[in-house]
Symmetry: C2
Subunit: 117 residues, 2 copies
DNA sequence: GGATAGTACTTTGTATTGCAAAGTACCGTG
DNA sequence: CACGGTACTTTGCAATACAAAGTACTATCC
């Protein structure tokens, strides 16, 4: 197990959350989401995102419409449903809890380091 | 997919990091780690932790020694190796990056809400 | 109008891994 | 020596991230 592998592990499970967050900012199609996530330094692969979007759609959190592209094949624009918005609200709480838990562990660790040195 | 399932997804991938953080605070055996993690509101199951500790050991990040228990079977106390400490250092950076990325997404989302209302 | 490049969505196969559940084993107590 | 508590291990399953290959639409170039 290398550091890259572990970083990818850390990204796991955050993906749904981040994708929903992106869509909360506005409708988007898959390739667009990939690009935006990359800009936020969150790498996600095609083979990951497409099935993920389908799962979220099947769970009623997303819906989509087809739109023509100025150049190329038509695009599948996804948008949050009401249920998706509510779900995202709960996820934000979960994220803040997780953040708090991890940073609590981190802080004790840092304190210990300070005491040692 | 329900909220509980999703929260568990969000915990995934954080586990290695949190276990290493726990061990940075002092040697511990599996059941002890489970208890401490639970106190930090991070649930982890036996069937998850034991293989995880074995993986980290096989990767040279951890080592262990047997110690007798005042009551019950002997305990396998795990401790960080030097390599484990270095690894943890990198993981802390990764965590802060992830935290920053997610909170950046969150912030734009909140701003948007503010603008709308 | 056929070949090519670019964009976008889909599918398949593999490996990882979290979890539940069952299993093994050690110890002290009555 | 049976039992309850503690602790570690193993097995089977399901979810899923990813790589890679495939399909399909559009515009451009010759």
């Amino acid at each position: 197990m290398n550091i890259e592998n572990m970083k990818s592990q850390m990204r796991k499970g955050m993906l749904e959350f981040c994708v929903l967050l992106q869509l909360a900012k506005g409708d988007a199609y898959a390739s667009e989401i990939i690009t935006k996530m990359k800009e936020a330094h969150l790498i996600v692969m095609e083979g990951t995102l497409y099935p993920l979007l389908t799962r979220l759609k099947n769970d009623g959190l997303l819906c989509y419409r087809w739109e023509e592209s100025p150049s190329g094949p038509p695009r599948k624009y996804y948008s949050l449903t009401q249920s998706g918005r509510e779900f995202l609200f709960h996820l934000e709480s979960s994220w803040h809890e997780l953040e708090k838990s991890v940073n609590h562990l981190l802080q004790s660790h840092d304190n210990q380091n300070t005491e040692i040195q």
